[in-house]
C-alpha cells in the first residue's frame, strides 16, 4: 500500500461520528476516502460550507461549487453555505472538531511550520493559521521525512504557522502524540523498527509503555 494511503487510512480512524472536520489541501484530502461508513463526518470547507462531498465527476461539475483548493466538488444532503466571516467564526470559534494538515516541520512543543520557506516558497498561510488555532484537535498528517531529512524536530526553524497547537502527528512510520512531557510514540508501523523511527526523527521520542502496532 502507498505510504500516503496508509497515513490517510490511519487519520480516518481518528474521526468520530458527528465530527466536524476540515481537511487541508493535498494528502489530508485523501482522508475523506477512508472514513468508515458506520459514522457520519461533516466536512467543512473554509471557502464557505459544511457538507462537502467527493470531487465532482465530469457530469457533476457545478460552476458555483468548489472546495478550498479551487477544485469542483459535490455537496451532500443537508449541506449549508455561508460567507467567509461565518466560515472563520466556525473555525476560530472552536466549532471544528478536527483539522488535518500537512507540515513542513513540527516540533516537540507542538509548533507547526507549513506555510513558507523564506526566499523560496511563499504561498501564504491561507486559512491554516486560523484552523490550527481554532480547531479542537489538530492532526498533522505527513510523510515522516522529506528527501531523507527529518521533519519532526526539536525546534522548528521555518516560520511558524502556530505555536503549541498540534495534538497528534501521523506518518507512515507511526502515530505520535504531543504531550506536555514531549512527543509520545503510541503506535509504530508493522514494517518499521524502533531504531528506524528514532533515526528518522530529530526530536526525542518517548516510547509508550503500551506501544501498539499502527493499524490502517
Amino acid at each position: 500500500m502507498d505510504p500516503r494511503e496508509r497515513i490517510a487510512r490511519r487519520v480516518a480512524k481518528e474521526l468520530k461520528n458527528g465530527d466536524v472536520v476540515n481537511l487541508g489541501i493535498g494528502m489530508p484530502t485523501m482522508v475523506a476516502n477512508f472514513i468508515s461508513e458506520d459514522i457520519e463526518v461533516i466536512l467543512q470547507s473554509e471557502n464557505g460550507f459544511i457538507g462537502m462531498g467527493p470531487i465532482a465527476e465530469k457530469d457533476q461539475i457545478d460552476k458555483d461549487l468548489v472546495n478550498a483548493g479551487g477544485v469542483h466538488v459535490t455537496s451532500k444532503k443537508g449541506a449549508a453555505f455561508f460567507d467567509s466571516a461565518m466560515s472563520f467564526a466556525i473555525i476560530r470559534g472552536g466549532h471544528v472538531d478536527v483539522t488535518v494538515l500537512g507540515a513542513l516541520q513540527v516540533d516537540e512543543n507542538g509548533n507547526l511550520a507549513n506555510w513558507m520557506i523564506p526566499g523560496k516558497l511563499v504561498p501564504g498561510m491561507g486559512g491554516a493559521m486560523d484552523l490550527v488555532v481554532g480547531a479542537k484537535k489538530v492532526i498533522v498528517s505527513m510523510e515522516h521525512t522529506a528527501k531523507g531529512k527529518a521533519k519532526i524536530l526539536k525546534s522548528c526553524n521555518l516560520p511558524l504557522t502556530a505555536k503549541g497547537e498540534v495534538d497528534l502527528i501521523i506518518t507512515e512510520m507511526g502515530v505520535i502524540e504531543v504531550t506536555d512531557g514531549g512527543l509520545l510514540l503510541k503506535e509504530i508501523a508493522p514494517n518499521i523498527s524502533l531504531e528506524d523511527i528514532i533515526n528518522s526523527t530529530e526530536a526525542k521520542l518517548i516510547i509508550s509503555p503500551i506501544l501498539k502496532p499502527m493499524e490502517y
Binding site: 460567507d83 467567509s84 491554516a128
Partner: protein, 217 residues
C-alpha cells in the same frame, strides 16, 4: 435610482491608484467581467484586497500578470506563480494576512468597529508590529479594520434594487466586502425583478450596492 449601468459606464468610476476589494475564492465567485473592464482600461497602480491572487489566466491573477497591481493584501498567492515572481523581483508589494483575520478586518471596517482581538497569528511573524492584549490569561493580537475605495463583487442573482443572493460557494468574501467600500459594484449572473429574491433570503441588502452590471450568466 436606477442602479443598472453598462460596463462602459463602469469605466468612469475607475482611477489609477485606487484601493479595490475584489470578491472570489480561487476564481470562484469572482466578478470576471469587471476584471475584463479593469484590463481593457489598463487601470494602473492598484492596491487590491482579496482572498488570493487566483491563477495567471483566471480570476484576480490576470491583473497581476498584466502588471496593473502595485500592492496586494491577501491570504494566499501559491496558485499564481507570477505573484511570487513579481514579489521576489520587488515589482509588487505583497502583504500576507491569515484568511480569517483578513475577512474579519474587512467586516470590522464595514461594521464600524475599531478592530478586534484574535488568537490567530500569536507566536508567528503575523504578530510583528501589532499590539498584544491579554484577556482572561489568553493572549490576542489587536487587528485593525481595512476598507477600500471600491468593492467589485459577484452576485448570482441581483434584483433591480440591488439585493443580492449568492449561489453555493460563490458567496465567500463578496457580501462582507460589500459593506466596507465607498462604492460597490456588483456583477450579476442574473438580474431579476424586485421581490424575485424572497426578502428573508437576501444576503446583501440593497443599501450596500451602488451599481449593478449584467454578467454573462
Amino acid at each position: 435610482m436606477d442602479k443598472i449601468i453598462s460596463m462602459e459606464n463602469v469605466t468612469a468610476h475607475l482611477k489609477d491608484g485606487m484601493t479595490l476589494m475584489i470578491g472570489g475564492f480561487l476564481a470562484n465567485g469572482t466578478p470576471d467581467e469587471l476584471i475584463d473592464c479593469l484590463i481593457k482600461n489598463n487601470v494602473k497602480d492598484l492596491t487590491i484586497i482579496c482572498n488570493d491572487t487566483g491563477f495567471p489566466d483566471r480570476g484576480i491573477g490576470r491583473l497581476v500578470v498584466n502588471k496593473q497591481v502595485k500592492k496586494v493584501i491577501t491570504s494566499h498567492i501559491g496558485t499564481n506563480p507570477e505573484t511570487g515572481r513579481q514579489m521576489n523581483e520587488g515589482e509588487l508589494e505583497v502583504l500576507l494576512v491569515p484568511q480569517g483575520t483578513l475577512i474579519e478586518r474587512i467586516r470590522s471596517a464595514g461594521a464600524g468597529l475599531g478592530g478586534f482581538l484574535t488568537p490567530t497569528g500569536i507566536g508567528t511573524v503575523v504578530e510583528e508590529g501589532k499590539e498584544k492584549i491579554v484577556i482572561d490569561g489568553k493572549t490576542y493580537l489587536l487587528e485593525l479594520p481595512i476598507k477600500a475605495d471600491m468593492a467589485l463583487i459577484k452576485g448570482s442573482r441581483v434584483d433591480k434594487k440591488g439585493n443580492v443572493w449568492y449561489n453555493k460557494s460563490t458567496r465567500n468574501f463578496n457580501p462582507i466586502m460589500a459593506t466596507a467600500a465607498d462604492v460597490v459594484i456588483v456583477e450579476a449572473d442574473e438580474i431579476v425583478e424586485v421581490d424575485e429574491i424572497e426578502a428573508s433570503n437576501v444576503v446583501t441588502p440593497s443599501i450596500f450596492v451602488d451599481y449593478i452590471v449584467g454578467g454573462r450568466g
